[in-house]
Symmetry: C2
DNA sequence: CTGAAAGCGCTTACAG
DNA sequence: CTGAAAGCGCTTACAG
């Protein structure tokens, strides 16, 4: 009789050691091995040690797919982001990964590329038991949410961040864009600005609409006139669009003495356009951005901006997601966590100082 | 006799439809269902259609964990990066995800946080069958590679990018840092620079050493003196370190008329320090960076730099990884793919134009 | 073209 | 404290 088990031809992948191999080796049952490796209290310390030593010796690595399959738990979270290479999202993902890692979860990542169709495809992929929870920032195109409904039926908790569905009862992590924009604008006002312009993001996206509203609310509170000529609408707050809008402001007979921009890229545009025209920043025109992008603390003068807590947003999303995964009773009501932002004051708004 | 199967209490997660449920429903065997869903040629078209329709109707979603387990294929790739929120890595990851997605693979991501210990932990996690291939950029601390050896034995192909093990025979995707640095320096020389400084990265990291060597080689070729005073060593090429080194250059009696910086952050520092001191960029001092960070095309004057092909690097890493996964015969020899970089000429080096 | 049966490598309820 | 047995939901070699 020939023994074929564990024969290893040099041209073959070595077959892995399994629980059974260990059991045979130690004359114990697979049950005992499994329990010993999991530090189950009902196994004697001697046996546990013995098993763990042998496991180490044979280089045993548990097959986590088998385990996931058996336990119906993958300890895996799926993320859908528009793009990974947008700094904001890379920070969020970093926060998610960090928190998940600490909790023993891993993170599988997908990019919707801001395409509804790809987002829909991805949700299909994620419904096949691969992940226990899903964290999403909606694509810019997304205007219907049917593709997310199935997760609820499957008991896979969904957490949205930043761009979240409107009018739907969902778990979400957001910042208060209205309040943040209000604070930013108010800051310009307290620095003495009376004619404040705004470079606005896409008004069909809730967060940019809120920023615009916050700007208007601050003007109102301080009884400053709202001038539609001082609002520059953009599609996606790109640097190039910022240049266009800032140049438009520059043509006004009465220049703005403050500009609140809905992101830092357009704040950079405004800064450069105005400086090139010989306008003194901040003394003649003060500028505030939004998001605390790295560039805001590098460009000169450094730009006052809003820290939008991207990393924390990710960590909170992971935290909530894992809580929902591990909560025995499915919680009925949805949660919205709103993170406090922070105004970071830098040179671009430091008048009279 | 009571039938309990598929009873769904409102407070329970609905149990999923399985292959067996479908089989029962259609009076077919599980084998046939499985094959029909997989469009196996040996199943009649009528049956295939019937099964697929019913699957759709009952909202059947195959359990991919069961399938992975059975087939011993997860169609999953693991990535270990120092940090996700570094623009370069976010671009690489984006390239990996894009290519993997097209090929039906998904991507699980881990951050080493530039800690050897965490990198080692992660490799342990990744050895448990979760992924079929692993793509790595080493942590800055990594000076031994034992924790990667096991992958080879397990038949899990490893692909390194950017920061790759030295002196080891591994699959890797890199750019030619020497050549790129040579080209960048040569560009300054052809623009008339005779006294060229260099802000260098950590010389214990191979890529930064190569950039330094490339710089020296270009000087040599054009018979320019190498002046150690014109080399600013940094630990991690931070903006702040760039400020320090550029300020040091500024104190030289004979100012450099060109600066080649090993990344774009320090190029920004040099630009700002020199401009603030009243030095005209590029006419008095021309500046070239490295990496084509977004800031390089926003700061004024825009910075000449090297496109380091981060996205393509990711795509190539994924491509190689998947090829190695799917190749039946384990290939013996390792591959190193070197991507062509590109000099992007912008205002910061456009003398005499 | 279809089905019965075995089995992937674990975990766990049950029994002792 | 330990073991025998069943089973998670698929896939596939074998048989017809």
């Amino acid at each position: 009789m020939y023994i074929y088990a564990n024969v290893c031809y040099s041209f073959m992948k070595k077959s892995r050691t399994t629980l059974k191999d260990l059991a045979k080796e130690l004359n114990l049952s697979a049950s005992t091995i499994s329990r010993a490796l999991g530090n189950h209290p009902g196994i004697s310390e001697t046996t546990t040690k013995l098993v763990q030593q042998k496991a180490e010796e044979l280089g045993f690595i548990p097959n986590s797919i088998a385990s996931s399959f058996r336990k119906k738990k993958t300890r895996s979270i799926g993320i859908i982001v528009p793009r990974i290479d947008i700094y904001f999202h890379s920070l969020v993902i970093s926060g998610i990964e960090d928190f998940a890692y600490k909790e023993g979860y891993n993170v599988t990542i997908f990019q919707s590329k801001d395409l509804l169709k790809r987002e829909q495809e991805i949700t299909k992929i994620l419904q096949n038991k691969m992940v226990e929870g899903v964290i999403v920032c909606l694509s810019i195109e997304t205007d219907k949410y049917d593709h997310f409904k199935k997760f609820k039926r499957l008991g896979i908790p969904l957490v949205f961040y930043d761009r979240v569905p409107t009018g739907l009862d969902v778990n979400s992590i957001v910042i208060n864009d209205f309040e943040s924009a209000f604070t930013a604008t108010e800051h310009l006002i307290t620095k003495g600005c009376k004619r404040i312009a705004h470079i606005a993001g896409n008004q069909s996206t809730a967060i940019f609409k809120s920023r615009f509203e916050g700007y208007k609310a601050a003007l109102k509170k301080y009884k400053l006139n709202f001038d539609a000529n001082l609002v520059g609408q953009t599609h996606n707050l790109s640097y190039e669009e910022g240049i266009i809008q800032a140049s438009r402001f520059l043509k006004q007979t009465d220049l703005p003495d403050g500009i609140f921009c809905a992101n830092d890229y357009t704040a950079v545009s405004a800064l450069q356009v105005f400086m090139k025209a010989g306008v003194k920043i901040p003394d003649e025109t003060a500028i505030v951005g939004f998001s605390n992008y790295p560039i805001s603390r590098v460009i000169e003068p450094h730009i006052t901006t809003i820290n939008d807590r991207a990393y924390e947003m990710g960590a909170e999303a992971a935290k909530l997601s894992i809580r929902l995964i591990e909560d025995e009773e499915e919680s009925i009501k949805s949660e919205t966590i709103s993170l406090k932002t922070e105004l970071i004051v830098r040179e671009s708004s430091l008048k009279n100082c």
